[in-house]
Protein backbone atom coordinates (compact mmCIF):
# COMPACT_ATOMS: atom_id res chain seq x y z
CA UNK A 1 0.00 0.00 0.00
CA UNK A 2 1.49 3.39 -0.92
CA UNK A 3 1.95 5.78 2.01
CA UNK A 4 0.61 9.22 1.26
CA UNK A 5 2.31 11.32 3.94
CA UNK A 6 5.76 9.76 3.65
CA UNK A 7 7.29 13.12 4.53
CA UNK A 8 6.10 12.67 8.11
CA UNK A 9 8.09 9.46 8.53
CA UNK A 10 11.82 9.36 9.00
CA UNK A 11 13.35 7.86 5.85
CA UNK A 12 15.38 5.30 7.82
CA UNK A 13 12.15 3.97 9.32
CA UNK A 14 10.66 3.19 5.92
CA UNK A 15 11.47 -0.28 4.65
CA UNK A 16 10.69 -1.31 1.11
CA UNK A 17 11.68 -4.49 -0.74
CA UNK A 18 12.34 -4.18 -4.44
CA UNK A 19 11.45 -7.85 -4.93
CA UNK A 20 9.26 -9.58 -2.38
CA UNK A 21 6.80 -12.43 -2.71
CA UNK A 22 4.69 -13.44 0.29
CA UNK A 23 2.58 -16.60 0.00
CA UNK A 24 2.87 -16.47 -3.78
CA UNK A 25 1.66 -12.90 -3.94
CA UNK A 26 4.01 -10.36 -5.48
CA UNK A 27 4.37 -7.39 -3.11
CA UNK A 28 7.41 -5.82 -4.71
CA UNK A 29 8.15 -2.10 -4.52
CA UNK A 30 5.81 0.16 -2.59
CA UNK A 31 3.38 -2.73 -2.02
CA UNK A 32 5.81 -4.04 0.56
CA UNK A 33 6.39 -0.76 2.43
CA UNK A 34 6.77 -1.20 6.16
CA UNK A 35 7.16 1.46 8.80
CA UNK A 36 9.50 0.54 11.64
CA UNK A 37 8.27 1.23 15.14
CA UNK A 38 9.49 4.57 16.40
CA UNK A 39 8.87 3.75 20.02
CA UNK A 40 11.70 4.52 22.42
CA UNK A 41 12.68 1.33 24.16
CA UNK A 42 15.16 2.46 26.79
CA UNK A 43 16.95 5.31 28.54
CA UNK A 44 20.73 5.72 28.77
CA UNK A 45 20.97 6.58 32.44
CA UNK A 46 24.57 7.86 32.25
CA UNK A 47 23.98 10.58 29.68
CA UNK A 48 22.96 13.33 32.10
CA UNK A 49 25.90 12.57 34.41
CA UNK A 50 28.31 12.71 31.46
CA UNK A 51 27.13 16.11 30.23
CA UNK A 52 27.04 17.36 33.81
CA UNK A 53 30.69 16.42 34.24
CA UNK A 54 31.80 18.55 31.28
CA UNK A 55 32.38 22.29 31.65
CA UNK A 56 29.10 24.23 31.21
CA UNK A 57 26.76 21.31 31.79
CA UNK A 58 26.79 21.46 35.61
CA UNK A 59 23.27 22.83 36.06
CA UNK A 60 21.42 20.73 33.50
CA UNK A 61 19.38 18.84 36.10
CA UNK A 62 17.61 22.09 37.04
CA UNK A 63 15.71 22.37 33.75
CA UNK A 64 11.91 22.27 33.91
CA UNK A 65 11.35 22.55 30.17
CA UNK A 66 9.76 26.00 29.98
CA UNK A 67 11.37 26.71 26.59
CA UNK A 68 12.65 30.21 27.44
CA UNK A 69 16.07 29.28 26.03
CA UNK A 70 14.68 28.18 22.67
CA UNK A 71 12.45 31.24 22.48
CA UNK A 72 15.36 33.55 23.22
CA UNK A 73 17.76 31.73 20.89
CA UNK A 74 19.49 33.63 18.09
CA UNK A 75 20.18 30.52 16.05
CA UNK A 76 16.66 29.13 16.52
CA UNK A 77 15.29 32.26 14.83
CA UNK A 78 17.16 31.20 11.69
CA UNK A 79 17.03 27.43 12.06
CA UNK A 80 13.94 26.09 13.88
CA UNK A 81 15.70 22.73 14.29
CA UNK A 82 18.13 24.37 16.69
CA UNK A 83 16.28 23.72 19.97
CA UNK A 84 18.28 23.80 23.23
CA UNK A 85 15.18 23.00 25.33
CA UNK A 86 14.66 19.78 23.39
CA UNK A 87 18.29 18.65 23.66
CA UNK A 88 18.35 19.33 27.39
CA UNK A 89 15.31 17.06 27.76
CA UNK A 90 16.91 14.31 25.64
CA UNK A 91 20.08 14.49 27.74
CA UNK A 92 18.24 14.48 31.06
CA UNK A 93 16.24 11.40 30.13
CA UNK A 94 19.07 9.69 28.30
CA UNK A 95 17.73 9.56 24.74
CA UNK A 96 21.21 9.33 23.25
CA UNK A 97 20.36 8.22 19.72
CA UNK A 98 17.90 11.12 19.38
CA UNK A 99 20.59 13.55 20.52
CA UNK A 100 23.20 12.20 18.13
CA UNK A 101 20.78 12.71 15.23
CA UNK A 102 21.26 16.47 15.72
CA UNK A 103 25.05 16.36 15.95
CA UNK A 104 25.47 18.58 12.93
CA UNK A 105 23.28 21.35 14.38
CA UNK A 106 24.23 21.42 18.06
CA UNK A 107 27.67 22.99 17.55
CA UNK A 108 26.12 25.97 15.72
CA UNK A 109 25.46 27.78 19.02
CA UNK A 110 26.92 31.29 18.70
CA UNK A 111 27.29 31.76 22.48
CA UNK A 112 25.28 34.99 22.52
CA UNK A 113 24.00 33.94 25.98
CA UNK A 114 20.49 35.31 25.44
CA UNK A 115 19.29 31.95 26.80
CA UNK A 116 21.46 32.36 29.88
CA UNK A 117 19.68 35.60 30.72
CA UNK A 118 16.22 34.25 29.87
CA UNK A 119 16.53 31.02 31.87
CA UNK A 120 14.48 31.17 35.11
CA UNK A 121 16.30 28.21 36.62
CA UNK A 122 19.90 29.25 35.94
CA UNK A 123 20.52 26.16 33.82
CA UNK A 124 23.08 28.04 31.70
CA UNK A 125 21.86 26.56 28.37
CA UNK A 126 24.78 28.13 26.50
CA UNK A 127 27.13 26.14 28.71
CA UNK A 128 25.07 23.01 28.11
CA UNK A 129 25.42 23.53 24.35
CA UNK A 130 29.16 23.87 24.77
CA UNK A 131 29.34 20.75 26.93
CA UNK A 132 27.17 18.83 24.47
CA UNK A 133 29.31 19.81 21.49
CA UNK A 134 32.35 18.77 23.54
CA UNK A 135 30.64 15.47 24.43
CA UNK A 136 29.84 14.74 20.77
CA UNK A 137 33.48 15.32 19.92
CA UNK A 138 34.92 13.23 22.77
CA UNK A 139 32.56 10.38 21.91
CA UNK A 140 33.69 10.58 18.30
CA UNK A 141 30.29 11.53 16.92
CA UNK A 142 31.65 14.71 15.33
CA UNK A 143 34.99 15.70 13.91
CA UNK A 144 37.07 18.49 15.33
CA UNK A 145 35.67 21.77 14.06
CA UNK A 146 38.06 24.31 12.42
CA UNK A 147 37.33 26.71 15.29
CA UNK A 148 38.59 24.06 17.73
CA UNK A 149 41.78 23.60 15.67
CA UNK A 150 42.31 27.35 15.82
CA UNK A 151 41.66 27.44 19.58
CA UNK A 152 44.18 24.67 20.12
CA UNK A 153 46.92 26.39 18.11
CA UNK A 154 46.17 29.61 19.95
CA UNK A 155 46.06 28.23 23.48
CA UNK A 156 49.02 25.93 22.95
CA UNK A 157 51.15 28.96 22.18
CA UNK A 158 49.84 30.91 25.17
CA UNK A 159 50.53 27.96 27.46
CA UNK A 160 54.05 27.57 26.10
CA UNK A 161 55.23 31.17 25.97
CA UNK A 162 52.64 33.34 27.72
CA UNK A 163 52.45 35.36 24.51
CA UNK A 164 50.81 35.28 21.10
CA UNK A 165 52.52 35.57 17.77
CA UNK A 166 49.59 35.82 15.34
CA UNK A 167 51.65 34.83 12.34
CA UNK A 168 52.45 31.48 13.93
CA UNK A 169 48.84 30.86 15.03
CA UNK A 170 47.72 31.50 11.51
CA UNK A 171 50.40 29.32 9.93
CA UNK A 172 49.63 26.43 12.29
CA UNK A 173 45.89 26.79 11.74
CA UNK A 174 46.23 26.72 7.97
CA UNK A 175 48.68 23.83 8.07
CA UNK A 176 46.54 21.72 10.44
CA UNK A 177 43.37 22.33 8.41
CA UNK A 178 45.21 21.53 5.19
CA UNK A 179 44.90 24.99 3.64
CA UNK A 180 47.68 26.65 1.60
CA UNK A 181 49.53 29.48 3.32
CA UNK A 182 49.29 31.71 0.26
CA UNK A 183 45.66 32.75 0.80
CA UNK A 184 44.82 35.75 -1.44
CA UNK A 185 43.63 37.75 1.60
CA UNK A 186 46.94 37.10 3.42
CA UNK A 187 48.93 38.17 0.39
CA UNK A 188 46.84 41.37 0.16
CA UNK A 189 47.25 41.98 3.92
CA UNK A 190 51.03 41.61 3.82
CA UNK A 191 51.33 43.75 0.70
CA UNK A 192 49.27 46.48 2.39
CA UNK A 193 51.36 46.30 5.55
CA UNK A 194 54.61 46.54 3.61
CA UNK A 195 53.37 49.55 1.75
CA UNK A 196 51.89 51.56 4.63
CA UNK A 197 53.35 50.39 7.95
CA UNK A 198 56.21 52.42 9.52
CA UNK A 199 59.54 50.66 9.03
CA UNK A 200 60.19 50.54 12.79
CA UNK A 201 57.09 48.37 13.38
CA UNK A 202 57.86 46.16 10.42
CA UNK A 203 61.25 45.40 11.90
CA UNK A 204 59.69 44.56 15.28
CA UNK A 205 57.12 42.31 13.60
CA UNK A 206 59.87 40.53 11.71
CA UNK A 207 62.01 40.07 14.83
CA UNK A 208 59.04 38.73 16.82
CA UNK A 209 58.29 36.21 14.08
CA UNK A 210 61.86 34.96 14.15
CA UNK A 211 62.77 35.07 17.84
CA UNK A 212 59.32 34.45 19.35
CA UNK A 213 59.79 36.29 22.66
CA UNK A 214 58.50 34.66 25.83
CA UNK A 215 57.06 36.13 28.97
CA UNK A 216 59.83 36.34 31.54
CA UNK A 217 59.91 33.59 34.21
CA UNK A 218 57.08 31.77 32.47
CA UNK A 219 58.28 28.27 33.31
CA UNK A 220 56.32 27.77 36.57
CA UNK A 221 53.13 29.19 35.11
CA UNK A 222 53.48 26.93 32.09
CA UNK A 223 53.91 23.83 34.21
CA UNK A 224 50.91 24.73 36.37
CA UNK A 225 48.66 25.48 33.38
CA UNK A 226 49.63 22.33 31.54
CA UNK A 227 49.07 20.24 34.66
CA UNK A 228 45.63 21.76 35.13
CA UNK A 229 44.64 21.24 31.50
CA UNK A 230 45.82 17.63 31.57
CA UNK A 231 43.91 17.06 34.81
CA UNK A 232 40.67 18.47 33.36
CA UNK A 233 41.01 16.46 30.19
CA UNK A 234 41.65 13.27 32.12
CA UNK A 235 38.62 14.00 34.33
CA UNK A 236 36.43 14.54 31.26
CA UNK A 237 37.57 11.28 29.72
CA UNK A 238 36.98 9.44 32.99
CA UNK A 239 33.47 10.90 33.26
CA UNK A 240 32.71 9.67 29.76
CA UNK A 241 34.37 6.31 30.48
CA UNK A 242 36.84 6.77 27.65
CA UNK A 243 40.30 5.23 27.87
CA UNK A 244 42.95 7.50 29.34
CA UNK A 245 44.78 9.38 26.65
CA UNK A 246 46.97 12.46 26.63
CA UNK A 247 46.05 15.78 25.12
CA UNK A 248 45.27 15.63 21.43
CA UNK A 249 48.03 17.91 20.26
Amino acid sequence: MPIHEKSLIRPENLIEHEKLVIDGIDVSGHWSTFIESRALTDYNENLQDEIEALGGGENISRCWQCGSCTNACTVNAINPDFNPRYWIYLIRLGMESELVRDKDIIWQCVSCNKCTYACPRDVNPEGVMKATAHWLELKGHTEKKPSMVFDEAFSHQVFETGKIEEGLVLRQFLARTGQPLAQPWIVALIAGLLRRFPVFYLIRLGLAAIFRPRTRSWGKARTAINEYVAEREAANRRALRLDARGADR
Binding site: L40, E45, Q48, R62, W64, L90, L93, R121
Partner: protein
Protein backbone atom coordinates in the same frame (compact mmCIF):
# COMPACT_ATOMS: atom_id res chain seq x y z
CA UNK B 1 -22.77 23.08 82.52
CA UNK B 2 -22.82 23.28 78.71
CA UNK B 3 -22.90 20.19 76.57
CA UNK B 4 -19.64 18.88 75.13
CA UNK B 5 -18.72 19.29 71.48
CA UNK B 6 -19.00 16.10 69.45
CA UNK B 7 -16.10 15.46 67.08
CA UNK B 8 -16.43 12.67 64.54
CA UNK B 9 -13.11 11.31 63.30
CA UNK B 10 -9.74 10.99 65.05
CA UNK B 11 -7.36 12.06 62.28
CA UNK B 12 -5.28 15.24 62.14
CA UNK B 13 -8.33 17.54 61.78
CA UNK B 14 -10.35 15.86 64.57
CA UNK B 15 -7.35 15.64 66.91
CA UNK B 16 -6.50 19.32 66.39
CA UNK B 17 -10.14 20.41 66.92
CA UNK B 18 -10.36 18.31 70.10
CA UNK B 19 -7.14 19.76 71.46
CA UNK B 20 -8.17 23.32 70.60
CA UNK B 21 -11.56 22.99 72.34
CA UNK B 22 -10.09 21.31 75.42
CA UNK B 23 -7.44 24.04 75.58
CA UNK B 24 -10.28 26.56 75.78
CA UNK B 25 -11.78 24.58 78.65
CA UNK B 26 -14.55 22.84 76.70
CA UNK B 27 -15.49 19.21 77.10
CA UNK B 28 -15.21 17.10 73.94
CA UNK B 29 -16.53 13.71 72.91
CA UNK B 30 -14.31 12.28 70.17
CA UNK B 31 -15.85 9.38 68.24
CA UNK B 32 -13.56 7.28 66.02
CA UNK B 33 -14.90 4.34 64.01
CA UNK B 34 -11.74 2.20 64.20
CA UNK B 35 -10.03 1.19 67.42
CA UNK B 36 -7.11 3.59 67.03
CA UNK B 37 -6.62 7.35 66.82
CA UNK B 38 -4.44 9.10 64.22
CA UNK B 39 -6.38 8.86 60.97
CA UNK B 40 -4.80 8.13 57.59
CA UNK B 41 -1.18 9.00 58.56
CA UNK B 42 -1.24 6.40 61.33
CA UNK B 43 -3.73 3.84 59.99
CA UNK B 44 -2.08 3.75 56.53
CA UNK B 45 1.44 3.75 57.97
CA UNK B 46 2.83 6.91 56.39
CA UNK B 47 6.59 7.37 56.68
CA UNK B 48 8.11 10.86 56.85
CA UNK B 49 5.59 13.66 56.51
CA UNK B 50 5.62 16.61 54.13
CA UNK B 51 6.92 19.23 54.80
CA UNK B 52 8.40 18.57 58.25
CA UNK B 53 10.21 15.30 57.37
CA UNK B 54 9.11 14.08 60.80
CA UNK B 55 8.00 10.47 61.06
CA UNK B 56 4.19 10.23 61.06
CA UNK B 57 4.24 8.07 64.18
CA UNK B 58 6.12 10.81 66.04
CA UNK B 59 4.29 13.86 64.69
CA UNK B 60 0.72 12.53 64.64
CA UNK B 61 1.50 10.20 67.54
CA UNK B 62 2.21 13.32 69.62
CA UNK B 63 -1.16 14.79 68.67
CA UNK B 64 -2.86 11.53 69.67
CA UNK B 65 -1.09 11.42 73.02
CA UNK B 66 -2.06 14.92 74.11
CA UNK B 67 -5.71 14.17 73.24
CA UNK B 68 -5.69 10.85 75.10
CA UNK B 69 -4.07 12.48 78.13
CA UNK B 70 -6.53 15.36 78.31
CA UNK B 71 -9.24 14.78 80.98
CA UNK B 72 -11.68 17.07 79.14
CA UNK B 73 -11.68 14.78 76.09
CA UNK B 74 -13.81 11.65 76.18
CA UNK B 75 -12.45 9.35 73.44
CA UNK B 76 -14.83 6.67 72.09
CA UNK B 77 -13.02 4.19 69.84
CA UNK B 78 -14.46 1.52 67.56
CA UNK B 79 -17.88 3.08 67.36
CA UNK B 80 -19.84 5.41 65.12
CA UNK B 81 -22.94 7.58 65.19
CA UNK B 82 -26.22 5.97 64.16
CA UNK B 83 -28.58 8.89 64.61
CA UNK B 84 -28.20 12.60 65.15
CA UNK B 85 -31.01 15.01 66.07
CA UNK B 86 -31.73 18.33 67.69
CA UNK B 87 -30.71 21.91 67.08
CA UNK B 88 -27.64 24.08 67.66
CA UNK B 89 -26.74 23.99 71.34
CA UNK B 90 -28.97 20.94 72.01
CA UNK B 91 -28.01 18.00 69.84
CA UNK B 92 -28.23 14.36 70.82
CA UNK B 93 -26.39 11.57 69.04
CA UNK B 94 -26.92 7.84 69.32
CA UNK B 95 -23.86 5.62 69.22
CA UNK B 96 -23.82 2.19 67.60
CA UNK B 97 -24.00 0.67 71.08
CA UNK B 98 -27.35 2.36 71.65
CA UNK B 99 -25.94 4.88 74.12
CA UNK B 100 -27.08 8.44 73.59
CA UNK B 101 -24.69 11.34 74.05
CA UNK B 102 -25.48 15.03 74.31
CA UNK B 103 -23.65 17.66 72.26
CA UNK B 104 -23.77 21.42 71.90
CA UNK B 105 -22.23 21.30 68.44
CA UNK B 106 -20.67 18.72 66.14
CA UNK B 107 -17.52 18.77 64.02
CA UNK B 108 -17.26 16.28 61.18
CA UNK B 109 -13.61 15.44 60.62
CA UNK B 110 -14.35 12.28 58.72
CA UNK B 111 -11.52 12.49 56.21
CA UNK B 112 -11.10 10.73 52.89
CA UNK B 113 -10.55 7.28 51.39
CA UNK B 114 -7.45 6.45 49.34
CA UNK B 115 -8.25 5.83 45.67
CA UNK B 116 -8.34 2.12 44.87
CA UNK B 117 -5.97 1.58 41.94
CA UNK B 118 -7.91 -1.49 40.81
CA UNK B 119 -10.22 1.06 39.18
CA UNK B 120 -7.48 1.81 36.62
CA UNK B 121 -6.76 -1.75 35.46
CA UNK B 122 -4.71 -0.58 32.45
CA UNK B 123 -1.97 0.53 34.86
CA UNK B 124 -1.40 -2.98 36.10
CA UNK B 125 -2.27 -2.74 39.81
CA UNK B 126 -3.64 -6.06 40.97
CA UNK B 127 -2.26 -7.77 37.86
CA UNK B 128 1.48 -7.40 38.50
CA UNK B 129 2.80 -7.61 42.06
CA UNK B 130 5.49 -4.99 41.38
CA UNK B 131 2.89 -2.34 40.61
CA UNK B 132 2.26 -0.70 43.97
CA UNK B 133 0.73 2.49 45.39
CA UNK B 134 2.35 5.42 47.18
CA UNK B 135 0.72 4.15 50.38
CA UNK B 136 2.53 0.81 50.01
CA UNK B 137 5.85 2.58 49.45
CA UNK B 138 5.17 4.71 52.55
CA UNK B 139 4.66 1.47 54.47
CA UNK B 140 7.87 -0.06 53.07
CA UNK B 141 9.71 3.03 54.30
CA UNK B 142 7.99 3.39 57.69
CA UNK B 143 8.34 -0.31 58.53
CA UNK B 144 12.08 -0.11 57.90
CA UNK B 145 11.89 -2.93 55.32
CA UNK B 146 13.00 -0.55 52.57
CA UNK B 147 11.69 -0.25 49.01
CA UNK B 148 11.74 -3.75 47.51
CA UNK B 149 9.88 -5.41 44.62
CA UNK B 150 7.03 -7.41 46.19
CA UNK B 151 7.43 -10.20 43.59
CA UNK B 152 10.87 -11.41 44.68
CA UNK B 153 12.12 -8.95 47.30
CA UNK B 154 14.89 -7.52 45.09
CA UNK B 155 15.93 -3.88 45.33
CA UNK B 156 14.68 -2.16 42.17
CA UNK B 157 17.13 -0.61 39.68
CA UNK B 158 14.52 1.59 38.09
CA UNK B 159 11.26 2.90 39.51
CA UNK B 160 8.47 4.75 37.71
CA UNK B 161 6.03 6.90 39.66
CA UNK B 162 2.79 7.62 37.79
CA UNK B 163 1.07 10.81 38.91
CA UNK B 164 -2.67 11.55 38.88
CA UNK B 165 -3.83 7.98 39.52
CA UNK B 166 -7.45 8.52 40.56
CA UNK B 167 -7.18 12.28 40.13
CA UNK B 168 -8.01 14.62 37.25
CA UNK B 169 -9.67 11.77 35.41
CA UNK B 170 -13.15 12.34 34.04
CA UNK B 171 -13.14 8.78 32.71
CA UNK B 172 -13.62 7.47 36.24
CA UNK B 173 -15.51 10.47 37.63
CA UNK B 174 -12.66 12.03 39.56
CA UNK B 175 -12.29 15.56 38.32
CA UNK B 176 -10.33 16.96 41.24
CA UNK B 177 -6.60 17.39 41.74
CA UNK B 178 -5.65 15.56 44.91
CA UNK B 179 -3.25 18.37 45.64
CA UNK B 180 -0.52 16.61 47.59
CA UNK B 181 0.46 13.57 45.44
CA UNK B 182 3.04 15.52 43.36
CA UNK B 183 4.83 16.60 46.52
CA UNK B 184 4.51 13.21 48.19
CA UNK B 185 5.84 11.53 45.03
CA UNK B 186 8.84 13.86 44.88
CA UNK B 187 9.43 13.10 48.56
CA UNK B 188 9.23 9.34 47.99
CA UNK B 189 11.49 9.63 44.94
CA UNK B 190 14.13 11.38 47.06
CA UNK B 191 13.81 8.74 49.79
CA UNK B 192 14.34 5.99 47.22
CA UNK B 193 17.34 7.75 45.69
CA UNK B 194 18.86 8.17 49.12
CA UNK B 195 18.29 4.56 50.19
CA UNK B 196 19.18 3.03 46.80
CA UNK B 197 21.63 5.38 45.02
CA UNK B 198 21.90 3.04 42.03
CA UNK B 199 18.15 3.08 41.47
CA UNK B 200 16.89 5.71 39.03
CA UNK B 201 13.46 7.19 39.65
CA UNK B 202 11.28 8.57 36.86
CA UNK B 203 8.13 10.57 37.56
CA UNK B 204 5.56 10.54 34.75
CA UNK B 205 3.50 13.73 34.95
CA UNK B 206 0.98 15.88 33.14
CA UNK B 207 1.65 18.98 35.24
CA UNK B 208 3.64 19.29 38.42
CA UNK B 209 1.66 20.84 41.26
CA UNK B 210 4.15 21.12 44.08
CA UNK B 211 2.40 24.30 45.18
CA UNK B 212 3.71 27.07 47.43
CA UNK B 213 6.92 26.39 49.28
CA UNK B 214 6.96 22.73 48.19
CA UNK B 215 8.38 23.96 44.86
CA UNK B 216 11.87 24.47 46.23
CA UNK B 217 12.04 21.75 48.85
CA UNK B 218 10.51 19.01 46.71
CA UNK B 219 10.31 19.74 42.98
CA UNK B 220 13.62 21.57 42.66
CA UNK B 221 15.44 19.62 45.36
CA UNK B 222 14.46 16.26 43.86
CA UNK B 223 15.93 17.27 40.49
CA UNK B 224 18.99 19.22 41.57
CA UNK B 225 20.24 17.12 44.44
CA UNK B 226 18.70 13.71 43.84
CA UNK B 227 18.57 13.67 40.03
CA UNK B 228 15.01 12.43 39.91
CA UNK B 229 13.85 12.48 36.29
CA UNK B 230 10.53 14.00 35.25
CA UNK B 231 8.95 12.72 32.04
CA UNK B 232 6.02 14.52 30.49
CA UNK B 233 3.85 11.60 29.56
CA UNK B 234 0.57 10.15 30.69
CA UNK B 235 0.99 6.40 30.67
CA UNK B 236 -1.36 4.42 28.45
CA UNK B 237 -0.70 0.99 29.94
CA UNK B 238 1.61 -1.05 32.12
CA UNK B 239 2.37 -4.56 30.86
CA UNK B 240 5.16 -7.04 31.42
CA UNK B 241 7.74 -8.78 29.25
CA UNK B 242 7.82 -11.64 31.72
CA UNK B 243 10.78 -10.24 33.62
CA UNK B 244 10.24 -6.53 34.07
CA UNK B 245 7.31 -4.17 33.77
CA UNK B 246 6.85 -2.31 30.50
CA UNK B 247 5.57 1.22 30.78
CA UNK B 248 3.92 2.45 27.59
CA UNK B 249 2.80 5.94 26.69
CA UNK B 250 3.80 8.94 24.68
CA UNK B 251 6.60 11.26 25.69
CA UNK B 252 4.81 14.42 24.62
CA UNK B 253 7.93 16.61 24.72
CA UNK B 254 9.69 14.53 22.07
CA UNK B 255 6.45 13.39 20.42
CA UNK B 256 7.58 9.77 20.54
CA UNK B 257 5.85 6.67 21.87
CA UNK B 258 7.77 5.03 24.70
CA UNK B 259 7.92 1.45 25.88
CA UNK B 260 10.42 1.39 28.70
CA UNK B 261 11.28 -1.42 31.15
CA UNK B 262 10.95 -0.83 34.91
CA UNK B 263 11.40 -2.94 38.04
CA UNK B 264 8.67 -1.22 39.98
CA UNK B 265 5.77 1.08 39.12
CA UNK B 266 4.25 3.26 41.83
CA UNK B 267 0.77 4.75 41.52
CA UNK B 268 0.52 8.17 43.14
CA UNK B 269 -3.03 7.56 44.29
CA UNK B 270 -5.43 10.41 44.92
CA UNK B 271 -7.93 11.21 47.66
CA UNK B 272 -11.46 9.96 47.13
CA UNK B 273 -14.39 11.20 49.19
CA UNK B 274 -14.78 9.01 52.28
CA UNK B 275 -16.68 5.87 51.23
CA UNK B 276 -19.03 6.53 54.18
CA UNK B 277 -19.98 10.04 53.03
CA UNK B 278 -23.48 9.01 51.81
CA UNK B 279 -24.23 7.57 55.26
CA UNK B 280 -22.70 10.55 57.03
CA UNK B 281 -24.72 12.90 54.85
CA UNK B 282 -27.96 11.04 55.70
CA UNK B 283 -27.32 10.73 59.47
CA UNK B 284 -26.18 14.32 60.04
CA UNK B 285 -28.45 15.78 57.36
CA UNK B 286 -25.59 17.66 55.69
CA UNK B 287 -25.26 18.25 51.98
CA UNK B 288 -22.54 16.69 49.82
CA UNK B 289 -21.03 18.61 46.90
CA UNK B 290 -21.12 17.30 43.36
CA UNK B 291 -17.91 15.33 43.87
CA UNK B 292 -19.19 13.57 46.98
CA UNK B 293 -17.26 15.50 49.64
CA UNK B 294 -19.02 17.29 52.50
CA UNK B 295 -20.24 20.67 51.26
CA UNK B 296 -18.58 23.58 53.00
CA UNK B 297 -19.94 27.10 53.49
CA UNK B 298 -18.28 30.19 52.05
CA UNK B 299 -14.86 30.76 53.55
CA UNK B 300 -15.36 34.54 53.71
CA UNK B 301 -18.25 34.58 56.16
CA UNK B 302 -17.94 31.42 58.21
CA UNK B 303 -15.55 28.87 59.63
CA UNK B 304 -16.11 25.31 58.47
CA UNK B 305 -19.91 25.53 58.16
CA UNK B 306 -21.86 22.68 56.62
CA UNK B 307 -25.37 23.05 55.25
CA UNK B 308 -26.73 22.36 58.78
CA UNK B 309 -26.33 25.02 61.49
CA UNK B 310 -24.35 23.73 64.44
CA UNK B 311 -22.60 21.03 62.44
CA UNK B 312 -19.11 22.00 61.28
CA UNK B 313 -16.58 20.32 59.04
CA UNK B 314 -12.77 20.25 58.86
CA UNK B 315 -9.99 18.56 56.91
CA UNK B 316 -10.11 16.18 53.96
CA UNK B 317 -13.82 15.52 54.51
CA UNK B 318 -14.34 18.66 52.40
CA UNK B 319 -11.97 17.71 49.57
CA UNK B 320 -8.33 16.74 49.08
CA UNK B 321 -6.36 18.39 51.87
CA UNK B 322 -2.85 18.44 53.30
CA UNK B 323 -2.17 17.38 56.88
CA UNK B 324 -1.06 20.88 57.87
CA UNK B 325 -4.19 22.49 56.45
CA UNK B 326 -6.40 19.81 58.00
CA UNK B 327 -4.92 20.70 61.37
CA UNK B 328 -5.57 24.41 60.74
CA UNK B 329 -9.14 23.69 59.66
CA UNK B 330 -9.67 21.62 62.80
CA UNK B 331 -8.77 24.65 64.84
CA UNK B 332 -11.02 26.88 62.73
CA UNK B 333 -13.96 24.49 63.22
CA UNK B 334 -13.19 24.41 66.94
CA UNK B 335 -13.48 28.21 67.13
CA UNK B 336 -16.78 28.07 65.26
CA UNK B 337 -18.14 25.40 67.62
CA UNK B 338 -16.83 27.30 70.65
CA UNK B 339 -18.55 30.44 69.47
CA UNK B 340 -21.81 28.53 69.16
CA UNK B 341 -21.72 26.86 72.59
CA UNK B 342 -20.61 30.11 74.27
CA UNK B 343 -23.58 31.85 72.67
CA UNK B 344 -25.84 29.20 74.22
CA UNK B 345 -24.30 29.92 77.62
CA UNK B 346 -24.95 33.66 77.26
CA UNK B 347 -28.56 33.02 76.25
CA UNK B 348 -29.15 30.77 79.27
CA UNK B 349 -27.70 33.43 81.59
CA UNK B 350 -30.03 36.17 80.36
Amino acid sequence: MTRPVLIVGGGPAGLSAAHALASAGRRVTLVEKVDRLGGAPILSGYAKLVPSHEWARDAIGGMVQRVVDNPLIDVRLGTSIDAFAGEPGRFSARLKSGETIEAGAAILATGFTHFDSVNKPEWGFGTYPDVVTTVQVEQMLSSGAGVRCPSDGRAPDRVAILLCVGSRDRQIGREWCSKICCTVSANIAMEIREALPKCNVYIYYMDIRTFGLYEGAYYWESQETHKVKYVKARIAEVTSDGKRLLVKGEDTLVKRPISIPFDMVVHAIGMDPNVDNMTISAIFDVRLNKYGYLDKGSAYSSLGHTSRPGVFVAGAATGPETIDDSIAQGQAAAIAALNLVNGAVREAAE
